[in-house]
């Protein structure tokens, strides 16, 4: 059947659990080959001057032509949907991607990513007088305060409002999100609730 290989490309990309599966060079090349075969047959059929009384030849051309269009559409869909993933990674990870993520990009995709970075940066810069990074503030802000518990005897800490607290193991405090987040990452504090 025509177009089975190109459909398979899309289906497999869709099914893939990976953030970015490797580019299926082999699958894509097979579709190119199928297209070349179909096209050569059509050129030959069009150049054939023998009579076509029952329209068999012309129907064959029409079917092969439709298959060519469909293959092209599937290939573009495959390329486009991979790019969508690349795009989302820019928004998720920022302009510099972790190595393991980038490993499965092919060369044109790396180029696309770099150029997209430039477009996005130029656009962000154009907003307002000083620019605005739209990858920040992605979630509605919640209260600036969270309740935290100290996991270590950390000692004294000056809060944003000037107050000084003593972080002892198991002691609990109310702290601004901005201030406690790095300490949570370092394992000094844990968040108890919102």
């Amino acid at each position: 059947m025509f177009c089975e290989k190109s459909l398979k490309l899309i289906k497999e990309l869709d099914r893939s659990q990976e953030a970015m599966p490797p580019f299926d060079d082999d699958g894509v090349r097979q579709v190119f080959e199928e297209m070349r075969g179909l096209y050569d047959q059509n050129v030959a059929a069009a150049n054939d001057t023998t009579a076509d009384p029952d329209g068999t030849a012309i129907s064959g051309i029409a079917i092969r032509h439709a298959a060519l269009e469909r293959n092209k559409r599937c290939l573009l869909a495959y390329a486009y949907n991979r790019i969508l993933r690349v795009r989302n990674m820019r928004w998720q990870f920022g302009p510099i991607l972790p190595h393991d993520i980038k490993a499965n990009f092919n060369e044109p995709e790396v180029q696309w990513f770099n150029n997209y970075n430039i477009c996005v940066a130029r656009y962000f810069k154009s907003i307002g007088a000083h620019g605005l990074d739209l990858t920040a503030d992605v979630k509605p802000p919640k209260s600036l305060y969270v309740e935290v518990r100290s996991l270590t005897d950390y000692g004294k800490l000056e809060l944003d409002n000037g107050e000084v607290v003593l972080l002892k193991k198991h002691s609990t405090h109310l702290m601004s999100r901005a201030q406690c987040e790095p300490l949570i990452t370092q394992g000094v504090l844990e968040q108890i609730s919102n």
């Binding site: 979630k139 509605p140 802000p141 209260s143 600036l144 305060y145 109310l174």
Partner: protein
């Protein structure tokens, strides 16, 4: 819309608080708040009330509708009415949730209030489900939805608009096709 966004919008509603400090009017971009006089109630946006309460700078006064008897009455009215009734707050569900979780100690009978809010919500949501069902079966493309609150609308999104879009697509697609009378098949 993500529930956190519905919450974000609802947090603009104003509620009464009793501050324990004095301060002149605060000029926010979204409008003036205050002045604050210790012990005297003042209206502030929900997000601000929750913040001040966390910092132990105020007590939140539950809105008067956040009361078992009033909520019961609203529920009965809702049951009796064919249409949706007007809620005391455009965001009654979110405001109730936010306030009740912030004021555990300040309000008596809090579990009963929670239950009453949930019962009211359930009555409205089941009414909404059956109206959606009737509406879809009627083949209509337009419906009036007065007094539905943001969170209730959000509960049928994206399913309801998507279903209607899909029906519309099928209708459009069949317009070109010849009509077939099934009785003659």
């Amino acid at each position: 819309m993500d529930p956190s966004e519905v919450e974000f919008i609802a947090e603009k509603e104003r509620v009464s608080i009793v501050p324990n400090f004095n301060n002149a009017t605060v000029h926010l971009i979204s409008g003036d708040v205050g002045p604050f006089r210790a012990g005297l109630p003042v209206n502030v946006p929900v997000w601000m009330a929750l913040n001040l309460r966390q910092r132990q700078k105020c007590r939140i006064l539950a809105p008067d509708w956040l009361d078992v008897d009033k909520l019961e009455a609203l529920k009965e009215e809702e049951k009796a009415s064919k249409y949706f009734t007007k809620m005391p707050s455009e965001h009654y569900m979110v405001v109730a949730q936010l306030i009740l979780s912030a004021v555990e100690d300040d309000i008596p009978r809090i579990e009963e209030i929670r239950m009453a809010v949930k019962n009211l919500w359930d009555v409205r949501i089941s009414k909404l489900r059956s109206s959606v069902d009737t509406f879809i079966k009627s083949g209509g493309s337009h419906a009036r939805l007065d007094y539905l609150t943001t969170m209730e609308i959000n509960s049928v999104r994206p399913l309801l608009p998507h279903a209607l879009d899909f029906i519309d697509r099928l209708n459009k697609a069949s317009e070109g096709a010849p009509r077939r009378d099934l009785s003659q098949d």
